[in-house]
């Protein structure tokens, strides 16, 4: 009966979403404020019900309930517990249920926590949120019911793609989904504000923490996904410009632009229409990403189901939501009054540049990702667009963007002078020039983009702390620290990327036991191959020792794993991390002479890429907390002032 409970909860949640939408529509149309009071509890009930439904699915996976079709197809009884739990969302139906569950909980969170938005706009926002949810409920209940039973009940399940049996999988999709779906809040806010024509600093201040929250999760999700691909696929790369990666990058780019433009709206009441547009685009990118990944249009580890019916369903949802929001925008943009003015050289100017460049990068990634589908649709030709295109087209723009990022925070709002800016930024500019000079002089292997990237990073690292110059450090607001840390994180990640691209050393050998291989300062010795066994796999493991210079000898053990349930192999790379980089060893096949292939990389400072990602997310988190605390304080002060009168 457990599975049925989950299904009933899902139906009830869907009806709550319908009720929520109806309350909003009728309330707004007839101007009945009594209906408004009911909408918060309904949103909360919807969130609770859909969360129950999702937890039931997890519980079915934990118990390995083999009477449920989804569990049979994606789990086996002998799997470790963590992967049983993560198996609940490591499949198409489960991941869509996770999506809608997060969306419902996000709606409930608006219902519980949002106190700064005007009542009418809040109702419109919750109505919009319900409207989006309804489509996804329909999709789950009609086209992909996760609780479907199977008869006769099989003895055991069919397992889970072994590539997905990894700690990374347990964390990466939920994190990314919270980010994706968190952007739906920004979308609903924008739709709500367009309906009530209430766009201004108050609206922006209410929206900002939600955008920051979603953005933090997106950043973490992308960082984790990049690291997962790096060590699990065994190819030694950290970003492949795979369509699936792009699908997560595009919402991030839009959200990054949004959280900068929303600041202009909150502080200076500028960029009203543009901010609304970005909020719509950001969540649209999330939905397009989900469509690309889940519909099976693209094949990859992430495409669980190849089913044209489902693809058309999601495509129809996309058309309705994105088209509807864009149409609303077109109708209302004329009546959104333009905000205040600013000069080109000003904080606003820099933020506009940030937004334009981010949008340009977004456009390039979008074109590159969808172009193959387009070409295929138009002709019989098949093409694939890979890393060379993306690096060539986005790299230069990204470097201009980060250069502006160094200058932006040092500019005053409204108007500033170029001379004053040059004065403030002279040290970082000097550092960049010095770094460029040194790199050109002392390195030989660097190509243009990494060279400029590395040099810029030196300047940005210093420039990001410049806003603290001559300020009282204890009175500097928390969100300023957040910005500083996030911008510094970009510099850190940039160093990692440039260093990995330029200084990686690679060796591919066929080694006999006892052979020694030198890579950079590493002395790597291959000792033996031994069989090992895990809970649901067996493996051949290489005994390898590695020594950096005269330091201590470390043992590492790259594996080739065979999974019993899926009859497939995966290779588990062995990583050895030092402060200045990572040694990465992959075991290949053997040959008739008893030699084993070993692929060895020494990647200097590669870890900085992910440390940078974490710093960026941390900065976003600090900014969010700082903003929320300040809003709370201001509210208290207002209440106090009113009480005094």
């Amino acid at each position: 009966m457990i599975a049925e409970t989950g299904l009933i909860a899902l139906w009830l949640a869907a009806s709550m979403a319908l009720l929520q939408f109806a309350l909003c529509a009728i309330g707004l149309a007839k101007g009945q404020d009594e209906l408004f009071k009911a909408i918060r509890p309904v949103a909360i009930a919807q969130g609770v019900l859909v969360a129950i439904s999702f937890l039931v699915l997890v519980w079915l996976f934990v118990r390995s309930d083999m009477s449920v079709k989804l569990v049979v197809a994606n789990s086996v009884a002998i799997k470790p517990m963590l992967y049983k739990i993560s198996g609940a969302w490591g499949n198409h139906e489960g991941s869509m249920l996770l999506w809608i569950a997060i969306m419902g909980v996000a709606g409930a969170c608006i219902g519980i926590f949002e106190r700064n938005l005007k009542a009418k706009t809040l109702v419109a926002t919750l109505g919009a949120q319900a409207f989006i949810s309804i489509g996804f409920y329909a999709y789950l209940l009609i086209a992909s019911n996760p609780f479907e039973r199977i008869f006769p009940v099989p003895a055991d399940g069919q397992g889970l793609n072994p590539l997905l049996q990894d700690v990374g999988l347990a964390l990466h999709p939920p994190t990314l989904y919270i980010g994706y779906v968190g952007l739906s809040i920004a979308f609903s806010f924008a739709v709500g504000a367009m309906i009530t024509r209430d766009v201004g600093p108050e609206f922006a201040k209410a929206m900002r923490p939600w955008v920051l929250g979603a953005w933090v999760f997106l950043t973490l999700g992308i960082t984790a996904g990049s690291y997962w691909a790096y060590y699990e696929l065994g190819w030694g790369g950290w970003w492949f410009w795979d369509p699936v990666e792009n699908a997560s990058l595009m919402p991030w780019l839009a959200a990054t632009a949004l959280l900068h433009s929303v600041t202009v709206l909150a502080t200076r009441d500028g960029l009203r229409a543009w901010t609304l547009m970005l909020a719509v685009v950001a969540f649209s990118m999330s939905m397009i990403g989900t469509f690309l990944v889940r519909s099976g249009v693209l094949t990859s580890v992430h495409a669980f189901a190849v089913d044209p019916e489902r693809g058309s369903f999601i495509l129809a949802l996309l058309a309705i939501y994105i088209g509807g929001a864009m149409a609303l925008f077109a109708l209302r943009v004329g009546s959104v009054k333009e905000g205040s003015q600013f000069e080109p050289i000003s904080r606003e100017g820099a933020l506009v540049a940030n937004n334009l460049l981010l949008s340009a990068i977004l456009g390039i990634v979008f074109i590159g990702t969808l172009y193959p589908l387009f070409v295929e649709g138009m002709s019989d030709e098949m093409i694939s667009v890979g890393a060379p295109y993306f690096n060539l087209a986005t790299g230069p723009i990204a470097l201009i963007l980060v250069a502006i990022m160094a200058a932006g925070p040092l500019l005053r709002w409204r108007r500033d002078s170029a001379k004053a800016l040059l004065n403030r930024i002279s040290i970082p500019v000097f550092l960049t020039a010095a770094a460029l000079f040194a790199l050109v002089l002392f390195t030989t292997s660097m190509s243009v983009l990494p060279l400029i990237g590395m040099a810029l990073a030196a300047g940005i690292a210093v420039a990001s702390f410049a806003p603290l110059w001559k300020r009282n450090l204890r009175r500097t607001p928390m969100h300023t620290y957040g910005m500083i840390i996030a911008h510094f994180g970009i510099a850190v990640a940039l160093v990692g990327m440039a260093s990995e691209t330029s200084f990686t050393e690679e060796k591919l050998v066929a080694a006999k036991p006892g052979d020694e291989i030198m890579v950079n300062d590493w002395k790597i010795k291959f000792h033996a191959i031994e069989p090992v066994a895990g809970p649901n796999w067996t493996a051949l493991e290489a005994r390898v020792t590695a020594q950096y210079g005269d330091e201590a000898i470390h043992e590492i053990a790259p594996q080739n794993r065979m999974f019993a349930s899926a009859q497939m192999q995966t290779s588990e790379a062995a990583l050895l991390t030092r402060w200045n980089g990572q040694l990465y060893v992959v075991l290949g096949d053997s040959d008739e002479q008893g030699r084993w292939q070993l692929r060895i990389w020494w990647k200097p400072f590669v870890t900085l890429i992910w440390y940078g990602g974490v710093l960026i997310a941390l900065g976003g988190l600090l900014a969010m907390i700082g903003r929320l605390r300040r809003a709370g304080r201001q509210k208290k002060q207002r209440a106090y002032a009113e009480a005094m009168i």
Partner: protein, 149 residues
């Protein structure tokens, strides 16, 4: 600057950025897009040596030959009508076996050999490289999606 002017300037700037991005994208696409070829396509269209292309087909039975250095492999990719010799240096993917589908990124050399930088094999029993779906070869290339659908 009046409000209207500012709005106009911003709109123009946005347009310039978009068009710029579009132009940059088209320029890079024309240069860098990887066209997908089957061995028959290579015979027919004769891509220029040195141009990055993607080759897909089946690994011919009995064609995999390991070189003396232990890390280079030679094999033949076919699509039922034509054949193409491929050379690859590196660790072959786990599911790279004879009679199975493979997609290789690389370049043709002037003597007609395809040198691959990267090999992709069938990910698992439910996965076919998208480009190979249309090609009818052996039984094990059809999708064996058992219980899910």
């Amino acid at each position: 600057m009046k409000a209207k002017h500012q709005r106009l300037t911003l709109a123009v700037l946005a347009l310039v950025a978009l068009v710029g991005a579009g132009l940059l994208a088209t320029f890079a696409l024309r240069d860098q897009a990887n066209y997908f070829y089957t061995p028959s396509d290579i015979v027919e269209k004769k891509p220029v040596a040195g141009k990055a292309i993607r080759l897909g087909g089946m690994v011919e039975e009995g064609s995999i030959r390991h070189e003396e250095d232990g890390v280079t492999v030679n094999f033949i990719v076919h699509d039922g009508t034509a054949k193409q010799a491929v050379m690859y240096t590196g660790i072959t993917p786990d599911l790279f076996v004879e009679g199975s589908g493979v997609v290789a990124d690389g370049k043709l050399t002037s003597d007609g050999m395809f040198v691959a930088d990267n090999l992709l094999a069938k990910h698992d029993e439910n996965y076919i490289p998208r480009e190979l779906e249309g090609i009818d070869m052996t039984g094990n290339m059809t999708k064996t999606d058992t219980l899910v659908e």
